[in-house]
């Protein structure tokens, strides 16, 4: 059982981590609380499904096209909706939630509410230290790790990454460095949508697809982000790992535990908000205005 917890825990927490950093990134930079983040994940998953199962394209091609389409959709949502009401954070939350529900209803109308599945990207399994690990699991974990590493390299090593971090920390001062803040926000939205899409590419074959599949991951990443500290990328990763494993342990070890999946994250969120509202890595910002 221990090895199953380890493998499944890594798969779950890796996916949540990629989703959570994307959510955290756009919140930190553009102050957009994007409730539609996991809906982007769902849209990619369904696009891949349509590509592989209905149109008969190979997985890789469907994946690339779906990621591109999702990024495009995310950018359109940002430019047409979020950006216009950015100053009003509640409006951003409501509008993004509406986008998510709209996506759900459109999928329900076009593809019906049946559970669907995507065939694994790679079949078969490999023996690692006496444990049979599915190639698909390996693909998911390595894909998540590579994505997180890529994001870290982008944020710390490139000029664009420094601009993104500068805007996240002090958007007004970033202007003075010649950084085009609205363009950086738009690019960040693209990256954030791309991260949600990549999470779907690596994890969708493990998930039953249905138009309500955005809700559970949304509560999970909200909890992970609260646990790690709102706006902290590092915190989101650790929050996702902790919750991913907590969820896996409950599902695997507790009889009938799969019904408690969502309860783990919500309980964790409530506990954190009571005990340490700023989260594990959160910074309490003292206001230092003029």
């Amino acid at each position: 059982m221990l090895e199953r917890i380890l493998v499944n825990g890594l798969v779950t927490s890796g996916t949540y981590a990629v989703l959570a950093v994307g959510f955290s990134l756009i919140f930190g930079v553009a102050k957009i609380f994007n409730m539609a983040h996991t809906a982007l994940y769902m849209i990619t998953a369904f696009l891949i499904f349509v590509g592989t199962n209905q149109l008969g394209f190979p997985y890789a091609l469907s994946a690339v096209v779906s990621v591109g389409a999702t990024i495009g959709f995310g950018l359109i949502c940002y430019a047409l909706l979020f950006d216009r009401v950015k100053v009003h954070q509640t409006a951003v939350m409501i509008i993004s939630l509406a986008v998510a529900m709209l996506g759900q209803e459109i999928l329900l109308l076009t593809l019906s509410g049946h559970y669907r599945g995507i065939a694994p990207f790679v079949t078969g399994s490999i023996d690692i230290l006496g444990v049979a690990v599915l190639y698909q699991h390996l693909f998911t974990v390595l894909g998540c790790l590579a994505t997180l590493f890529g994001l870290w390299a982008l944020l710390t090593k490139t000029n664009l990454g420094k601009a993104i971090r500068a805007v996240a920390q002090d958007s007004e001062t970033a202007n003075l460095m010649g950084i085009n803040v609205s363009r950086v926000c738009l690019i960040t939205m693209g990256i954030s949508a791309g991260l949600a899409a990549v999470a779907a590419v690596v994890a969708a074959p493990l998930e039953p697809l249905h138009p309500g599949m955005w809700m559970l991951p949304l509560t999970m990443i909200l909890a992970a982000v609260v646990l790690g500290g709102l706006g902290s990328i590092k915190g989101s990763v650790f929050g996702a790992i902790i919750l991913g494993f907590a969820e896996t342990i409950v599902v695997t070890a507790v009889p009938g535990g799969s019904f408690l999946r969502g309860a783990v994250s919500l309980a964790a969120m409530v506990l954190v908000l009571i005990a340490r509202p700023e989260g594990l890595f959160g910074v309490v910002f003292e206001e230092e205005r003029l």
Partner: protein, 249 residues
Amino acid sequence: MYLEVNGITVLYDRAMVLNDVSFHVDKGELVSLVGPNGAGKSTLLRALAGLIRWEKDTLKGTTLGKITLEGSVLFGGEEMMRLPSHDIAKRGLILCPERGRPFREMTVLENLEAGAYLVKDKGVVKETIDRVYGLFPVLDKRRGQVSGTLSGGERTMLSIARALMSQARFLLIDEPSVGLAPLVKEDLFSRINQVHGMGITILLSEQDIGFAFDLATRNYVMSRGKVIAEGRADDLLADELIRKTYLGL
């Protein structure tokens, strides 16, 4: 004239912060802008850097965004009021905000690199980093330190260094000496003088009259959103009315 400001007026909702302000700065000058708290010095510098316009655009649709901004700012013969703030920075007119405002979670070196955002040539970036380390050795010592943990004087120096990284030709320095110990002030004073010596034009807002008058070649006195006097330090100090009413000496 290098910088020519004509009739800048700023209203936050119905509160007038700047009332028809006009002045000019020639190339190579170090001009100070003195006056009491609330005179509008910071707002003026922020307007020149395009931040008032940015604030207005960003807060559009809220009560805080009801900002009126009028007037003309010619820098090197080009109108700045129509440009977004990041394009103004591109022209080499750069604001060092009050208290430095470093990017707090980045290290000193990362702050400098962020300052060099506009410079595409890696060689030039390296060269400029060495130059600002020469000018501010304390930043070299703290290069790996997270800038949120710097002292007040170091933050101010970092903001000047960061501005120099983007190849600034004209620095707007907002209240550099605020909250600094006398010895730190002395040190900063000589560093600003050095920066000026490098051929960079400086407009400096300051509440410490002694600091400003010793440093500047020419001064403007501001009060209640207006420029009410202009001149060399001696002339201003000789004027009984200005000395008593506005400088509090």
